[in-house]
Amino acid sequence: MPRLRDAGFVVGLAIVGLVFVAAVIGPWLTGHDAFAQDLNSRLIPPFWMEGGSSLHWLGTDQLGRDYLTRLLYGARISLFIGVLTVITSGLIGTSLGVLGGFYGGRIDDAVLFLITCRLSIPVVLVALAVVGLIGSSLTLVVSTLGLLLWDRFAVVARATTMQIRSLDYVNAAWCSGCSPLEIMRNEILPNISSHLMVVCTLEIALAILLEASLSFLGLGVPPPLPSWGLMIAEGKDYMFFSAWVIMIPGVALFTLVLGMNLVGDGLRRAFGTQVIK
Amino acid sequence: MSPILEVKNLAVRFGPTLAVRNASFTVQKGETHCIVGESGCGKSVTALAIMNLLARNGQRDAKAIQFSGQDILAYSDRQMEDVRGNRMAMIFQEPMTSLNPSYTVGSQMTEVLRRHHNTTRDKAEQRAIALMQRVGITAPQMRLGQYPHQLSGGLRQRVMIAMALMCDPELLIADEPTTALDVTVQAQILRLLAELKQELGLGILLITHDLGIVARVADHVSVMYAGEVIESGRTADLFANPTHPYTRGLIDCVPVPGKIKPGEALGSIPGTVPVIKDGFSGCAFRFRCAHASEVCTQAAPRREIGPDHVVHCHLPRQGADQ
């Protein structure tokens, strides 16, 4: 694990930790409902700006909903989607990568072919098309992203499996009669897990960014769920006069993704991993 | 006898680590001076320090470094750049990676001549061809247009030697030039260097860990241990009469057929070369020396054993042991 002297890692961990705590207990603490509209209190600015009120610390959106509560709820959505997507894509990608790296030959050729096909697909476009054609929902976004974002898992799992496959202790396991599945589970997986952890954090960040893009274009998380991307989209019409409407969720999004990237980089430095492209 | 290179009390440190603590030696014109020692004794660092090619965190210090009578210790980067490749050249241990893979052999050779002397490309190419022939490279015209990966290790090392000679240097520093090569090729390269030395009046500073090479080609030897030159002298004298326990140990390590009797243990020196850090004092070899005593915790004095034979030891040995 990384030392506590690694400033980047510590900062990243603090950010992610803070967002996690805020997401879990935040919406409950503010005393407002993220979905309750109040058309008499629309677009109230944050308390530090002129016209702000102490009732709504970060103001209200165009339908009078408390912005802070929506922001904190949005954190839940981002984290939820990030983690679930990565679980799916991680399972798919790691399985493919380990199989290809372990067996080599035709199986590896097939895996490489699948990876190449996946890389050729314009991800945002396809995700948009799927959601657009089937209809937006949280589950659909998670499944689509999960089925699309497995490539880096596959590449890293494959490369590291190939490195380990020919090492002595793996050969020793072969000799003592272990089955391929046992070898993959007991020898290979534990030793590639540190590399995969790095990929996990980076992919969570990517999933969060992608979901925000999809929701921004209206083809991601459906309203009234307060995805940060959606909040930015809804605020776009007012941004020239009330820039804070898009700045607040944007800063939140940027900070969370930055935090995850810092954690990922810190892990990479700690494990001495080279970037495997 | 004119000295090409005189190094007095060279010291090199990397942060708290003292890679070289006290190295003094002289290379005469037309002679081969070998620096010999185990891995980690600081011999390669010494060579780089002379050229001022140390890594960024390396600091060198010396009483004097004289090259052909000029004090190059105080030379600026620009001044050293003019000397390197021109009057002082260096070849390295790994021929496989020491040439730029993206440029042809010809362009890499001509570039050094054109950098230091204003020559046309044609003239430079002619000189390159001539030198390649001299070092024993066949079909030199063709080689000009070839890339390094198309040549074998031995050929690449010959190219390195030819490249080093492009500007007709006075001193050639060779850092373990044959270690990475096959044994037969080793012998050829060493013979080539000896011939060139004779022909061109070169001074050669040869770094090696191999006593066999020292015995073959060196006119003069300096034995290094943990950053210090602990014994130096003419090759014949040193082999005939080694006085420092380390030198004696090194020579004993080389099994000589006929002298070794079956059942006899091969000579060895237990332990490894220590890394010396700030604050160290006394003789660095005392932890591995069979004859060490109390007095060895003090810095070893410089003693002259014979004409041109110097040793740094409190208790130098004479004659045969046991």
Binding site: F113, V126, I232, M247 | G85, H149
Partner: protein, 305 residues
């Protein structure tokens, strides 16, 4: 060399075929296409008419081969919404997307190459740390948000640049900047690590021992080798940019292929969506081929002799 290109081209073709199949499946995902085209409030009879008109009553495989056959000749059918040939629509909008892509890549290279080289030369100094900071910010920045911020600052408050449309070159500045921002992190990192590796190599030590000048060592010897992976990745990044242009084109209302795709998705215009996916994927595949060829051309060791 030709054998290498041939094999790569063959691989590329197989990938294109697979993506074609995928694009086809994609549009059939929402269930009965005829119903979606007919729209809400249509009767069963209407749906049947549409089904026959668009050939949706035939077996799926037949539909697929038909589409494939036509697609290979460049005929992607007609758009439901625009009442025009899909191929024409795409061709009309390609120049905008390409301009944006090349402008973005050019800008990205202009920033990341010097930045990466400087970061490597002054490794672990404030210059390097600033470069790292820029890389981190670029990686975390949502592109659509950056676009909006630039619009507010440069479009509204400073009034320097127009915020939407495709009238003049000024319309492309902000979009190109946003696009460049997405590629700068990866390219800078690559340039930096490549230079650090090159500068620490044995052949650079030889170059220094030859007394070559500092600029010669950095630019002639080190950069020549460090730039090889950067150049080939740049080609691939262009592919990503073209695929990801949909977000930026939508934010800035640039009528390129991405914007077309966006409109078509919202209007369930399947032929267009299918075709755009295929075209973008093919361009990406072509660019990876170019990238491999560039790699082989620049690195003498790969040319095979």
């Amino acid at each position: 060399m030709t054998r290498f290109i041939f094999r790569r081209a063959l691989l590329a073709l197989s990938v294109v075929m697979t993506v074609m199949a995928m694009a086809f499946v994609l549009t059939r995902l929402s269930g009965d296409l005829a119903i979606s085209i007919a729209g809400p409030g249509s009767t069963q009879a209407d749906v049947e008419v549409i089904r026959k008109a668009y050939g949706l009553d035939r077996p799926v495989l037949v539909q697929f081969f038909d589409w494939t056959r036509l697609a290979l000749t460049g005929d992607f059918g007609n758009s439901f919404f625009f009442k025009d040939k899909v191929a024409t629509l795409i061709a009309q909008r390609m120049p905008v997307t390409f301009t944006l892509g090349f402008a973005g890549l050019g800008l990205a290279l202009l920033i990341s190459l010097p930045l990466g080289i400087l970061a490597a030369l002054y490794e672990n100094t404030w210059i390097d740390r600033t470069a790292s900071l820029l890389v981190m910010v670029g990686q975390a920045m949502p592109s659509f948000w950056l676009g909006l911020i630039l619009m507010i600052v440069f479009g509204l408050q400073l009034g320097w640049l127009p915020i939407s449309g495709t009238g003049s070159w000024e319309h492309f500045v902000m979009p190109a900047v946003v696009l460049a921002f997405t590629a700068v992190p990866a390219l800078t990192r690559l340039m930096r690590s490549g230079m650090i590796e090159a500068l620490g190599s044995d052949y650079i030590r030889t170059a220094r021992a030859k007394g070559l000048s500092r600029s010669s060592i950095i630019f002639k010897h080190a950069l020549r080798n460090a730039a090889i992976p950067v150049v080939s990745i740049a080609a691939v990044q262009l592919g990503f940019m073209l695929g990801g242009s949909i977000v930026i084109e939508t934010v800035f209302a640039l009528h390129g292929v991405g914007y077309l795709a966006w409109e078509s998705i919202s209007k369930n215009d399947f032929p267009v969506v299918q075709a755009v996916v295929l075209v973008l994927a093919s361009i990406y595949i072509g660019l990876t081929l170019v990238s491999d060829i560039l790699n082989a051309l620049l690195d003498p060791r790969l040319r095979g002799a």
